[in-house]
């Protein structure tokens, strides 16, 4: 009997170490194993024979582990490359390719400056405004393409948005004369602001292995994006400190060298960090994995409080006062942040967990943001009636609508989820289904909006 116990303990430890298998899973399967052993013993088998048969029936642990990993990709999504035949653990580091591509990205950002010698300062600034992300993100997409081993057709799908965007934003005849005093057309500015979103979807396509079909992979993109932002922020902070210190050290001995350092090193560093942050997300996953739930847990209640207070204030003020003109942009930013929080906590949540305080607080935050936005939107629509459409208003209103629909859907599903009427899975599915809408809207602003307003 003692021998059997020892064998079962050994089996349990072995299974417990497998990828994607958690302690409750082990407990569940151990119960299964024991009942099987009991049944076989009753049928006349000796303990060790019964154990062997039961383990055999349970199945090979590596196959089991793979199956668990596939079902619970959130538990170890760092093994993003769970290809159907993936006996291989995740693809080897990718550090070397990341470093090479990071250096290339760092060099590429200086191309317009080096090649466009004849351009004036303002023109050069406009070139950078339109092309900054086009110079950097292709390297990130390429890194993913290498890591995921995309075939030729998938490569084309990933490359197409970059090529199209590069051609369009540089070929459109931006009409700077009509703009008031600026050297940049309004629609040009809007296109430049929305272009990164479009290109990020191209990068996401590469990271998902060239297809948008799988909702699980889409959720992985959300996780990747959230963690990439965290890592990039950390890198930016560190880089900022480094550059600041460098400037202070150089100032006394070579004051003339400070400006070139900022001019050349800063853009290169910022571009290279884009790729390096992606590598960090994939390679050092578990570090952020511990941090992300903590961050959401800290900020969700804070946002809930601030938003609820603002919603009440605005609802009161709106009755009396009039809103400032640019306020819709601020609220777009607010909704983006709230949506980011919702998306990220959705992706970080263990679908099996019971409803908790955090889920309720998140609903408060979302509902408050909705109320706030509805108030502002009502005021804004009234204004547009007064003064007509402008590119800015169309872009701001459209974005607002896109976000509003998503958050309203999320709030509705949260209510049903909190009431126990729907599984958490439906919330995830809503977000992953909605994901392409952001890309499409951003693409519309880049491609269609300038045409509608004659490149003004």
């Amino acid at each position: 009997m003692a021998a059997l116990e020892a064998q079962i303990t050994e089996w349990r430890d072995y299974v417990g170490r497998a990828r994607g298998v958690r302690p409750p899973d082990v407990e569940e399967m151990e119960g299964h194993l024991r009942e099987q052993v009991d049944a076989l013993s009753t049928a006349g088998l000796a303990d060790d024979e019964a154990f062997l048969v039961a383990v055999k029936r349970m199945g090979a642990v590596d196959a089991l582990s793979r199956e668990f990993a596939r079902e619970h990709s959130g538990r170890l999504w760092k093994q993003l490359v769970l290809t159907p035949d993936a006996d291989a653990e995740r693809a080897p580091g990718g550090l070397r390719s990341a470093l090479v591509l990071a250096v290339l990205a760092g060099l590429a950002v200086h191309l317009p400056r080096l090649l466009g010698g004849g351009l004036g300062e303002e023109e050069l600034a406009a070139v950078y405004l339109r092309n900054a992300t086009l110079l950097v993100l292709p390297f990130l997409a390429l890194w993913f393409a290498l890591r995921r081993g995309l075939d030729r057709r998938q490569l084309l799908v990933v490359a197409a948005p970059f090529v199209l965007a590069a051609v369009l934003v540089n070929a459109y005849p931006w009409d700077r004369a009509t703009s008031t005093g600026d050297s940049v057309a309004v629609t040009e500015l809007l296109a430049a602001a929305h272009l990164p979103v479009v290109l990020w979807f191209a990068v996401a396509t590469a990271s998902m292995g060239g297809t948008w079909r799988s909702h699980e992979r889409r959720m992985d993109v959300v996780r990747f994006t959230g963690e990439w932002v965290i890592y990039y922020t950390l890198l930016a902070l560190g880089g900022g400190v480094l550059l600041g210190l460098t400037a202070l050290v150089l100032e006394p001995v070579a004051p003339g060298a400070v400006e070139p350092v900022f001019e050349w090193v800063l853009p290169s560093g910022a571009a290279a960090a884009v790729v390096v942050a992606a590598w960090l997300v994939e390679a050092k996953q578990d570090v952020v994995e511990n941090m992300a739930p903590v961050l959401t847990a800290v900020f969700t209640p804070l946002f809930a409080v601030v938003l609820a207070a603002s919603a009440v204030t605005y609802a009161v003020v709106a009755v009396r006062g009039e809103f400032h003109r640019e306020v819709l942009g601020v609220f777009d930013a607010l909704l983006v942040v709230v949506l980011g929080l919702v998306l990220y906590s959705t992706s970080a949540r263990d679908p099996g967990r019971q409803v908790g305080l955090l889920d309720r607080l998140q609903l408060v935050a979302v509902a408050s943001a909705l109320v706030l936005d509805a108030v502002v939107l009502a005021a804004m629509v009234a204004r547009v009636g007064d003064v007509g459409w402008s590119p800015n208003r169309v872009a701001a209103l459209g974005l607002n609508l896109v976000l509003l629909v998503n958050l309203a859907g999320a709030a509705w599903l949260s209510v049903r989820f909190l009431a126990g009427r729907t599984p958490f899975h439906r919330l995830e599915r809503w977000q992953t289904t909605y994901l392409p809408v952001y890309g499409l809207w951003a693409a519309a602003v880049v491609v269609v909006l300038p045409l509608l307003f004659a490149f003004a």
Binding site: P24, E28, H425
Partner: protein, 119 residues
Amino acid sequence: MHIDKDLVAASATPLVLAILSEGESYGYALAKRVRELSDGELEWSDGMLYPLLHRVERMGWVTTTWRTPDEGRRRKYYALTDAGRATLADQQRQWAAVTRALGGVWERVAAPQPTPGLA
């Protein structure tokens, strides 16, 4: 008889849902019931049942509770939800359509075939 792996995988979810529609159950009992129902011809490694059960839980087709029976160890019980019942009904329709189509074609396959080339 060896049943193709893909076929086993495809039938696993409807089979589990159907068994659960008879009443709540737990892993070992489910595996045993599958073996009984198929006269041992559906060969599963029992462990594979658990990722499958977790998936149907995530889809909201079953709910789970850990309970300790009067004698014995703590077990995780799975019970079908309304959504699970709806899915089961849907899967039943799909499988009925498949078996109907196959049934139609089997009859013809079983009939003597003209030798190719002479027809």
